[in-house]
Amino acid sequence: MSTERTIPAIHGTITVGVPIERAFRVFTGSFNTWWPREFHIGQADIAEAIVEPREGGRWYERGVDSSECDWGRVLAWDPPHRLIMTWQINGQWQYDPDPEHASEIEVRFIADGPERTRVELEHRLLDRLVGGQALRDGIGQGGGWTSILERFAKAAGNEA
């Protein structure tokens, strides 16, 4: 009945010309300064995007109207080497508190000399997010994963 599809994880790598400690600090502590503003889930424009610096911490956005939208949770907090967070934005473009529906983002920081750090990102378990229930519910409710695509497309278009 269910069409099992495994969606390959997304991998991203970038090398930055700073020490590993600073790379980790900017990624997490200054998340708000670099996260592209067009990617948000709240109705309001984004005022802040925040990662709480501890295992179990929240990862969320605060809108200009002070509303907050969760994105996920911090699963592993291992400065300055590793960070694992969940991405729990479902097919309805809302935070889904069910851990079974959580995709995961792992970010690894690898020193490549004293002043260089390679940052490797993996966004995995995407089928949890978009597969099965989220997909079908989304379609049933008339928003769904296609509206995510349209929002992203719009955001990408605005940015291009």
């Binding site: 069409t3 599809r5 969606i7 390959p8 997304i10 991203g12 790598t13 970038i14 090398t15 930055v16 010309g17 700073v18 600073r22 790379a23 600090r25 900017v26 990624f27 502590g29 200054s30 708000n32 300064t33 670099w34 996260w35 592209p36 067009e38 990617f39 948000h40 709240g42 109705q43 309001a44 424009d45 750090t117 940052v119 990102l121 966004h123 995407l126 978009v130 597969g131 997909l135 079908r136 379609i139 049933g140 008339g142 928003g143 769904g144 994963w145 296609t146 509206s147 995510i148 695509l149 349209e150 929002r151 992203f152 497309a153 719009k154 955001a155 990408a156 605005n158 940015e159």
Partner: protein
């Protein structure tokens, strides 16, 4: 930049297209079968299917003398492609920030 609030959903802004997608989510069907289950004409069904097909949500394939329509599984891959783009853009922005921000400024952030 009012990309989100109250944006019309385009492809899925039309209730008939949503109904068609719901039917296709159950199993692949032909235009004729869709027309029987919906209060619209066969040409109208075809027109909606064309929009959905152009939008990358629906595929068709020949089945004997008719065509059957189904959800495009690559629609899911498209989501992945968009997320891939999000991260690509985010990592580049992170690089710029990491190399620009001094420790002093970082302290002011939080």
């Amino acid at each position: 930049m009012d990309a989100y609030g109250g944006a019309s959903l385009g492809l899925l802004g039309d209730p008939t297209r949503r109904a068609i997608l719901e039917l296709l989510a159950r199993h692949p069907v032909s235009v004729g079968e869709l027309a029987k289950q919906l209060p619209i004409s066969r040409p109208a069904v075809s027109q909606h299917l064309r929009v959905l097909k152009d939008g990358g949500l629906v595929l068709s394939r020949p089945d004997g003398t008719r065509r059957v329509y189904q959800l495009d599984p690559d629609g899911v891959s498209a989501l992945r492609a968009y997320l891939d783009r999000v991260w690509g853009q985010a990592l580049r922005a992170f690089q710029v920030a990491a190399e620009a921000i001094t420790d002093d400024h970082e302290q002011e952030e939080s």
